[in-house]
């Protein structure tokens, strides 16, 4: 590969749209897909009522996917300048010519198959900046002052990301999507760090973030924790809030690849061969679905695949995405598929989508109403360090974090110790005794990678708290 740059002789920065057109024109492969991702981020991080780190960053990534026969070559480079474009395309073309046949090779998606998704090709990119925190940062400063005055410490992270993705192909695709992603995580601790409470919100622009209201919620929970009650490990009736449900359901979703299921490797494998699609997982009319157009959590409405793998194919780039039911009326309805794996499994091609919604029966109660109707049980704040123990049962282990509260006769009576749990979200679906009203939520553990979720609180009659964690 030639040098990335000779300083002072660069020929200027082209727009992402121009880069796509030029790269497609340069490719001598049988087919070509070009993806340009333009990213910008701004963040503030804080601990103990003071700033710890901050920053702004820009990124620009060009991915050229060349196809020669059934061979594919993929080359991604960042900060590519005009003079280097030909080298990147030539490298992808060369890799495609030298590649072994790709098992997922299919005709590239045609422009007319993409439908109306991804419009607005010609608009300029509008990056974020540190100014997105122009009103938020002073409000946070006020919260720090209030926390100082009342003997609390605030910790957390605020981040805003804007990614503009452009997908063009030799088959005529010209698709574009702008994705704002923001979140605030706020953690309050008592001065001696013995009590801890957490809350978080997803946001598209920080205009809707009310720091004072979130801080008030945390203050209430720290007050709940002033009475400490030690409990032994065991199975407890447990109310999981939406964030905890989201982390479990996201793991279930990530584990729902059709290819692995068909190969007998996952909880969605049918004993003796095939998948469990069509099998009832819950007695409740639960839906688990993704929808790129879902209000408040809208996401990319077409496939963007930078590399092929078990659950995505570069040949599927540009496929339109619509509402996809993974679990419908309590029954496993679809698994994550490429066109290739769909042919292997005989099921519909249903690619992964970047949001997730779980809904129970109509009329579900709020978290507060569910707590008020609890005779004796645990109310969790969130789950942490969730890892897979057994893929075939999808047994997960992890910890409770930042507040486990004992509820008696509809009231929180104190905070109990943290626990390590061992549970399978698939098994839980079959044991739920209540599914509440779904609300937007920030996944505590997976929010770095999966930010858009709408989830209900749920009640589990016998959640397996395997052992006590001394962490507070």
């Amino acid at each position: 590969m030639s040098d990335h740059l000779s300083d002072g002789v660069s020929s200027g920065v082209t727009t992402p749209q121009e880069t796509v057109e030029r790269a497609l024109a340069l490719s001598e492969a049988d087919g070509c897909v070009v993806i340009v991702d333009e990213g910008s981020t701004a963040n503030l991080r804080f601990a103990g009522n003071t700033l710890t780190t901050n920053g702004v960053a820009r990124s620009s990534r060009l991915t050229v996917i060349s196809v020669v026969g059934a061979g594919v070559g993929v080359v991604s480079r960042s900060a590519v300048r005009d003079g280097q474009l030909a080298d990147v395309v030539a490298a992808a073309d060369r890799a495609a010519r030298e590649a072994r046949p790709s098992e997922d090779a299919r005709p590239l998606v045609e422009a007319d198959a993409a439908g109306s998704a991804g419009a607005g090709w010609d608009r300029p990119v509008e990056p974020t900046s540190i100014d997105v925190f122009g009103e938020f940062a002073p409000a946070l400063g006020e919260a720090f002052a209030a926390a100082d005055a009342s003997g609390r410490k605030l910790y957390g992270f605020a981040e805003h990301i804007v990614t503009s993705t452009f997908v063009g192909s030799s088959t005529g695709l010209r698709l574009r999507h702008d994705q704002p992603t923001g979140r605030l995580e706020l953690n309050a601790k008592s001065a001696d760090l013995a009590r801890s409470a957490w809350t978080g919100v997803s946001t598209r622009d920080f205009a809707d973030v009310d720091v004072a209201a979130l801080d008030a919620t945390l203050t209430r929970r720290l007050d709940w924790a002033k009475r400490r009650i030690d409990l032994e490990p065991g199975r407890y009736e447990t109310v999981l809030p939406p964030t905890a449900v989201s982390d479990l359901m996201i793991y279930l979703y990530w584990s729902s690849g059709a290819r692995d299921a068909a190969d007998g490797r996952t909880v969605f494998s049918r004993p003796g061969g095939g998948t469990r699609v069509g099998e009832r997982l819950s007695p409740h009319p639960i839906s688990l679905y993704s929808d790129p157009a879902h209000a408040g959590i809208a996401c990319t409405p077409f496939v963007v695949a930078h590399a092929s793998g078990r659950e995505q194919s570069v040949f599927d780039n540009g496929m339109p995405l619509g509402r996809t039911e993974w679990i419908s009326d309590g029954t496993l309805a679809n698994l994550v598929q490429t066109r290739h794996s769909a042919e292997l499994t005989g099921l519909a091609a249903t690619p992964q989508i970047d949001n997730l919604v779980m809904e129970g029966p109509a009329g579900g109660r709020s978290l507060e109403e569910m707590v008020a109707s609890t005779e004796r049980g645990l109310l969790l704040t969130c789950l942490w360090y969730i890892r897979e123990v057994d893929p075939q049962s999808l047994l997960l282990t992890g910890l409770t974090r930042d507040g486990v509260y004992l509820v008696e006769n509809g009231e929180v009576v104190g905070e109990v110790n943290n626990f390590r749990f061992n549970e399978s979200p698939v098994d839980l679906l079959g044991r739920l005794t209540e599914v509440g009203a779904s609300v937007p939520t920030l996944p505590r553990e997976w929010g770095d990678w999966f930010n858009r979720a709408v989830m209900p609180p749920v009640r589990v009659p016998d959640f397996n708290m395997s052992t006590v964690s001394q962490a507070s």
């Binding site: 003071t50 920053g55 702004v56 960053a57 991915t63 072994r100 395997s466």
Partner: protein, 497 residues
């Protein structure tokens, strides 16, 4: 010794650094640093000897970090011109200004000697990016279809990374470095009736070149030849009976326990609360430095950024601090933390021990893990001798599932292979095993560590920490070790079955 690639040195490193640092000075920054880096990563995946996917990506850009009026400011850019570097310096100062209202702890840095135009290259012979993709694909296909053809399915992957960094700061330090790492993994899968299982190679990720795949540092043909029989035995193995057992833990498993329960627990930023809302804090609080009874007297743990082929090994860190080796636990007592320059000054510890790292040009350096390693006993026993001391126990090899709480107390790990130990001998494989303990209980139960002959450097490419999230490569050396009376779970029973 290999040299830094000419195409990286041909980039306008100094011109951009001079422009950024000068602008930062002009704007009144007390300290400024400039980092330009290129990280190239290639991944290759095969399934049943057929190419499943490959990617070849790089990340090129630069970063400017300033301290202005005692507040950090950070900005990065991708346009490699002096004008863009100066703009990034301006932006970093602006970030510091916007952040000032929420900064109540002025930032200072521990002193470090100036290193003027020094270079370092990691220890490798063959640059994996010089090897044609077709050759690498052919080797993985050969590995997948040899003795492993008896498995139902075989996946094979190879991750390769080349990291090139140029660093300059306002004190005058200028460093240029290049390092290479790679991680080959082969997994065999098989179904026996309704029972599915898999087993993968124990070969660790290393800071070596392509020679690692062709005989230097690991015997892949020998390991691959063993896998089918080992997997067959695992499929037919009995399920473990839950209870307390003595454990002999192989370094292929113990490295991860070290990583989670010692490596992260002795990061001073965690102990001070900087990670409290995310990765968590540590039970090993600063007030216990020099007194915490971390483990048994045979426990000696070091941190280093110097060991050959180590994944966290560098010449200088991302704050211009020279790589060092230091004690963390000595004869069972906590004696040191991993530091960056800010924390070293804040806590009066003198010099930083060089643990600042940023995983990309778009991210700020934070305190990341050194190669944290459990030291072997100079005349220590072999693995067989450790096993011979156990009447009823389990011998564990290879890592798999892991989880630990946010203060590093309570952990649970599984593995690749588990053997029943009866009266000092291995008595066949077991299934469905996890071990669960509290960190200090576990390390205090360590009765013996093996000798140098049992010592292996394990590790991972993907240690996660910080917000925005960053990944770091890190190695952990470990001997085999003997633990008494550890809680073993049956994972099927844990799932309520």
């Amino acid at each position: 010794m290999r040299q830094i690639d000419p195409d990286f040195l041909a980039l306008p490193l100094r011109r951009l650094a001079d422009a950024a640092l000068q602008r930062a000075r002009d704007l009144g920054a007390e300290h400024a640093s400039f980092r330009l880096e290129r990280v190239r990563a290639e991944t290759l995946r095969l399934f049943d000897a057929r190419l499943e996917g490959s990617s070849d990506a790089d990340d090129l850009g630069f970063a400017v970090r300033v301290i202005k009026d005692g507040t950090w400011g950070f900005a990065s850019g991708i346009e490699l011109t002096a004008e863009a570097a100066a703009r990034a310096a301006e932006e970093a100062v602006r970030v510091a200004a916007v952040s000032a209202p929420i900064n109540r702890e002025p930032v200072g840095l521990a002193p470090e000697p100036v290193y003027d135009d020094v270079t370092w290259v990691s220890a490798y012979d063959v640059d994996p990016f010089d090897v044609p993709l077709a050759d690498k694909t052919a080797l993985l296909a050969e590995w997948s279809s040899g003795p492993l053809g008896r498995a139902d399915h075989v996946s094979a992957s190879l991750m390769q990374v080349k990291e090139q960094k140029f660093y300059a700061d306002s004190a005058g330090t200028v460093t240029t470095q290049q390092r290479v790492r790679l991680h080959p993994v082969v997994t065999a899968m098989k179904t026996d009736g309704d029972r599915f299982d898999d087993m993968r190679t124990l070969a660790p990720p290393v800071g070596r070149g392509y020679e690692y795949l062709t005989g230097a540092g690991w015997d892949f043909p020998a390991e691959l030849a063993e896998l089918p029989d080992l997997l067959d035995e695992k499929l037919k193995a009995p399920s473990v009976e839950a209870g307390r057992y003595d454990l002999v833990v192989d370094p292929s498993n113990l490295w991860l326990t070290i990583h989670e329960s010692i490596g992260h627990a002795t990061e001073l930023d965690r102990a001070l609360g900087y990670e409290a809302a995310y990765a968590g804090t540590s039970f090993a609080t600063f007030d216990q430095l020099g007194s915490l009874h971390y483990g048994s007297p045979v426990m000696n743990v070091t941190g280093d950024r110097t060991v050959e082929h180590g994944l966290a090994t560098v010449g200088w860190d991302d704050e211009g601090v020279a790589g060092q080796s230091f004690d963390i636990v000595r004869e069972g007592t906590l004696v040191g933390y991993q530091l960056d320059r800010r924390m070293a000054l804040l806590k009066g510890l003198g010099r930083s021990n060089g643990c600042a790292f940023a995983d990309s040009p778009g991210h700020m350096p934070i305190q990341r893990m050194a190669n944290v390693s459990l030291q072997p006993a100079p005349d220590g026993p072999s693995s067989e001798e450790l096993i011979s001391r156990v009447e009823r126990g389990v011998y564990i090899l290879g890592d798999k599932s892991w989880s630990i709480d946010m203060q590093r107390y309570n952990f649970q790990f599984t593995g690749q292979r588990f053997y029943r130990i009866e009266n000092g001998r291995l008595a066949g494989q077991l299934r469905d095993v996890a071990y669960q303990a509290t960190t200090t209980d576990f390390w205090r139960s360590m009765e013996a560590v093996g000798g140098p002959g049992t010592y292996v450097l394990g590790g991972a490419f993907n240690c996660g920490k910080g917000q925005p999230g960053q990944v770091a490569p890190v190695s952990h050396g470990a001997p085999a070790a003997l633990f008494r009376g550890v809680r073993i779970l049956n994972t099927v029973q844990e799932g309520g079955k």
